[in-house]
């Protein structure tokens, strides 16, 4: 196919009509989230527009427009007059084989000046933040540029006004649900504590007690499992808004993956980069949490803040600051925020990793003898606060009400019903490869290094390998003898098991023993 026939009839016309046309072909190359376009080195569009490898290229197809990164093809992988698309670019454009799309330079990213100003330590105005968020959602930012913004906001670089503006901007670029109810419950955990998987239990109790709780959860950012990862091994979570509505109308609650619902497109883009940098800042944390809760239509939310020396929030002072900011900014948006500081000194339950944590959750809901008592207690405490905050239980009567829902089986029945409504309940998978790590001497369990345990679980494959992770056999204060099992590594692939084991052997203080 000669390219000439697709030449724009008027290359000197104004920005909106300028550009060149090429036929699209699907390369079958998966680049994850970053859209990539493949063009021949000799392509007339590259030559006339001055595109080269890593150039950002705007592609328009009908009403859709994306910015992709250019990879230049030297051989015959792409035909004359054609441009190849990566899977993500193909999906975003909704392309069909052979369709002609328009290629041009993307508009300059105006808001990068504000990102640079932030890196230099300047205060950003609401309009600047709004523009950054809009351009990120429009796909104008590459991963490198998003990384610049994430790092600029890192630590405590966003003040309260900036955080409020970021929350509002993230809210305004996405969809916002309205449940037509005066009271919609929600729950959130700021994370940092392996195995702290209370959400499915709290939702089940709250719904069993009659509350409306349309819960959206995220996948892991820097941890071996997010609630959406855990829930997904038990039931489908990638529901769209219409499907989510049907579940909530039928059962009063759901536990779905927020990114699939598309409520927080900006947050989703930021989280991907935060995951690579293993970084989320206070301002972005607050904006991320609040924008998601408000977008999901919540009016009352209980927030679990684990505090511990190796948890995400390391001191009560840091926790107070965070809570103060969450509460005050939340109020400005009409959201009642109630925070609960919890013990972040050791992992919760036995499992770390999607399937292992799901097993703990199911054991608590099913009142199994092996159910971890600490997970049950934490879930009950949070559910109690939520019932009281929403007026479903009198002050001081929340714990009793929550425990009744769990003990009489109504929470478990409600959970099963929610799973069925989301597409069907399923049992968590078991890992094909396991390895026990044992105590090398007698002693008493002194402490857990949450960060390194999380790292070991990630090296074993979690959260992508859902059966992978760590199964703990000891708790703080317990006595162990040399040779007793401390934990078991689970992996879906031999290479990953060996890799995690390498790490565990190099870092002996994952679980510290004090001498007897």
């Amino acid at each position: 196919m000669a390219a000439g026939s697709f030449d724009d009839p008027d290359p000197h016309a104004s920005g909106s009509t300028r550009g060149h046309w090429l036929r699209l072909c699907r390369m079958g190359i998966d680049t994850y989230q970053e859209p990539v376009v493949y063009m021949r080195r000799s392509c007339h569009v590259c030559r006339s527009e001055g595109f080269e490898a890593q150039s950002r290229v705007q592609i328009e197809l009908g009403e859709r427009r994306i910015v992709a990164t250019l990879n230049v093809v030297h051989g015959e992988l792409v035909g004359h007059g054609e441009a190849g698309l990566s899977e993500s670019a193909w999906r975003l454009l909704g392309a069909r084989e052979g369709e002609a799309a328009r290629f041009s330079h993307p508009a300059p990213i105006e808001s990068m000046a504000a990102v640079r100003a932030k890196i230099y330590g300047h205060h950003l105005e609401a309009g600047q933040i709004r523009r950054i968020v809009e351009e990120i959602v429009a796909g104008s930012y590459s991963q490198v540029e998003i990384a610049g913004f994430v790092a600029a906001c890192g630590g405590d670089h966003l003040d309260e006004r900036e955080t409020e503006a970021l929350t509002r901007a993230m809210l305004e670029v996405g969809e916002r649900l309205d449940w037509g109810r005066p009271l919609v419950a929600d729950k959130h955990c700021v994370g940092g504590l392996p195995g702290n998987r209370t959400t499915p239990i709290v939702v089940a109790i709250a719904a069993a007690a009659g509350l409306v709780m349309p819960k959206t959860s995220s996948r892991a950012i820097t941890s071996p499992a997010g609630t959406a990862d855990v829930m997904e091994v038990i039931a489908p979570v990638a529901l769209d808004v219409a499907a989510m509505r049907r579940v909530v109308e039928r059962e009063g609650a759901c536990i779905v993956w927020g990114e699939a619902v598309g409520l927080s497109p900006a947050d989703d883009a930021l989280i991907r980069v935060e995951r690579v940098l293993d970084l989320d800042s206070e301002g972005q944390l607050v904006a991320s949490v609040l924008s998601k809760k408000i977008a999901a239509g919540a009016t009352h939310v209980v927030i679990d803040v684990p505090v511990g020396s190796t948890a995400k929030v390391r001191s009560e002072q840091a926790a107070d600051r965070l809570l103060d900011r969450l509460t005050r900014i939340g109020l400005g948006f009409g959201l009642a925020v109630h925070a609960v500081l919890t013990d972040g000194s050791q992992p919760v339950g036995r499992g770390i990793g999607p399937a292992l944590e799901a097993s703990d959750v199911l054991a608590v809901l099913q009142r199994a003898p092996r159910a971890p008592a600490d997970l049950r207690e934490r879930a009950l405490a949070l559910a109690a606060r939520l019932l009281e905050l929403c007026g479903a239980a009198a002050r001081g009567a929340g714990l009793g009400a929550a425990a009744r829902c769990l003990d009489d089986g109504s929470a478990w029945r409600k959970f099963r019903a929610i799973c069925e409504a989301q597409g069907g309940f399923r049992e968590p998978p078991r890992a094909a490869f396991v390895h026990d790590v044992v105590a090398e001497r007698d002693g008493r369990i002194e402490s857990f290094d949450n960060r390194r345990l999380a790292r070991a679980a990630k090296l074993a494959g979690a959260p992508i390998a859902s059966a992978a992770g760590i199964e703990l056999h000891v708790r703080r204060g317990e006595r162990v003898r040399s040779g007793d099992r401390l934990f078991t590594l689970h992996a879906e692939a031999e290479g990953e098991l060996a890799y995690a084991l390498d790490y565990v052997r190099r870092v002996p203080q994952l679980i510290a023993l004090e001498p007897e």
Copy 2:
């Protein structure tokens, strides 16, 4: 070819021998600097190691080892038992078609914890900075992670001790030249002023006056042209160390591209990301300048610091701080630094962009009537300071000595000789597409917006399109009549000309007129 035959005989062996083997094939896909590996979705290595799209994969071939980003291929682009490599991965590994390489997980990036600490505002110790630089040079960092480091150091986030440590680390990971001379001259400009291309003239004068001046220059970071870009339109600049030595031994001086010499591998990796973010920080600027000068074997260096409201350094106070830091840290490494503050209020010469600036340089060296007087004066002032600093002229006699070298033709003869020694002198190219921008009313030229002029030149294609850029027809204070030419846009492609013109029309204050 079945993959099984390449399976590692002992997948349970220790980290150094673990891994899987695949045959390499060259994809012919140019991803610029980021190495990419293409593997089949069904590949046994992906499955057993748990690799997925965007995973970082370590590839070992003989003594060479790289970390590449994985793109997963769904179709038949890659055969069974094979892995495809991008051009950069192919080059870095020195691969040949069909060779078998070992694939495994890369070691975790230990120093990212230090990058996060810096984002959180903590002081970094020398050892932490050293480790970051080592891991960047080893290719362990992806572009996103480098962006995190660049942003973390942005603005004035590096203090003097950190800057000194960064300088030392960058120096230690690269090669360091020794010229066996007690006195080796150098010159640097901190940039930010379009067209300020004094280096080729200063080198020619210094060498004509008998100084040894092995000059390495960089390509543009955030500007429309770096000295290496300008020099490259006149003579080859991509010389290796051996070739650079031959030129300096023969002519006493050279003007080559530093990255090709490989003196500052860390700086080169940082600069690529700084270019995308359009950001270079004070600490990184100081470390970048000093490490390059010291690595090139310099003992005496004159630094040009243009100061102006739209130049890189915007106030004398900021300039003093920068100079103080350059001088003190330089002294610690035995480098005598002498800085010259210059006028940064308007572009120097007529051209902005590689070929247009090269024409200005040649006009000054050839004493052509059209030679820009301001470029000549600035080059003479800097050469004078360098001659005095190095003892080649008495105090106060530098300017006379420099002017004599220029006016008697010896600088021009020396420059031609250097060009011939580097591979041959050539005339700068002319752009195929030009467009005059004229004054819309009568007035006097009040000011130039250096940043926006630079941006317009970049949109026109500079520095990659070497003939592209801006040719100025007016100077500050001059009177113009409506319809008089202010400047001419030069481009190598129609699309780029139109794109730059769009920008120029949207930003009317590129050159401000005061009413008559």
